[in-house]
Amino acid sequence: MTGILFDMALCAALILTGWRVLHSSDHFQAVVLFITFGLILALAWVRLEAPDIAIAEAAVGASLAGVMLLDALRVMRSAGKEHEQERRWTNVARLPSFHLFFSFIAAVVVLVLLICAVLELSGRQGGLADLVHAELESSGTKHPVTAVLLNFRGYDTWIELGVLLLAVLGILTIRECSDLRSLAPPVASTIVFETLVRGIMPLVLLVSGYLLWRGGFAPGGAFQAGVVLGAGCILLWMAGHRSLAMLGDATWRILLILGFLAFLALGSSSLLHTGVFLAYDRQYASLQIFLLESAATLSIGTTLAGLVLALQPLKKDLSQANRDVR
């Protein structure tokens, strides 16, 4: 009874915050509510007994996405610089009312249809859970979610790493710079924050490694570990540490593709030996999975950090700004 009440409170809060995120008048309020939405969603994952996703959501929805949005909001709110080019466009003051009416009707129709469909869902206990548990022994890991991610559906994970790589490449393309070496070194932050980051970094690395190690038998794994690692890199940057700016171009590139490459290498070698792509050797499966996960962790961490860092000021921007000041 308590449980269902809690569920209802969670869901009501999700809908309330979701609605306010999208329809509050103030953009900053919307971003704060979005962070809160992520937090409530993480609690919902906990209630739904999906701690793996809760960890991921805590790191992504509540922290990383929040940082991205706050950064973007700050930039989009500030008055743009005029020297870039003469402005040829302006925002439309308001949309025609038939547009608003149409979108409202469309959303309501979709909502009604979806609600009917959900109510009609047969309560059949289907799913692949039993199959996963039956094959868990031979998968090389003891945690079912890791087994699905790395073994049964490893192909999806491989392509997902490709998507991550693409996102960073896309951002670099937009910024018209070839790699993260073109970033200007970070600006120094306050001493208090820097001290905190100094103190907390070992903990971040520890937690990242811990999550990676836990993934073999309990909730955790490459993605969660990677997000924590990436967040740690962003923290370092925000605190003004220059260590990341000193990584060489080759290092950046290799770190970015390491996970994708590891999957590719393992898949190809198993294709050569057994004729099956991404098949694990029964004997060494857990070791292979652990190596893959480590590579993926490094890549995911670098990539997610790259998603934020690639948007920071570039060296050429800085010199441009200095010229403008003079």
Partner: protein
């Protein structure tokens, strides 16, 4: 129900009271600077009591270590966060002394 459980319940309740105080302060205090104080009470004491109550409940060393680690980190992070926000408010006030 053992004596540990009763203490655990008591500590959790105390933590709950501090969280309640935190949220009431967050709503009732007049400006952002004073609301900082409400936040720290909930962070340090509220979570502290709850962590302590849960430690009494579980009595397993790894869990207790993890719980205490969480509490310590929260104290560090939240005091830094409060410092940063406080600093930000001051700077804002310097930039635009007329506003509000």
């Amino acid at each position: 129900m053992t004596i540990w459980d009763i203490f655990s319940i008591l500590f959790c309740l105390a933590g709950g009271v501090f969280f309640l105080a935190g949220v009431v302060g967050m709503l009732r205090f007049p400006d952002a600077m004073s609301r900082l104080h409400a936040l720290t009470k909930a962070d340090n004491l509220g979570l502290g009591f709850i962590v302590f109550g849960l430690c009494l409940r579980s009595l397993a060393v790894p869990v207790i270590i993890k719980l205490l680690l969480i509490w310590l980190t929260v104290m560090l992070a939240s005091s830094t966060a409060c410092y940063l926000v406080g600093n930000y408010i001051l700077q804002k006030a310097e930039d635009r002394p007329k506003e509000n």
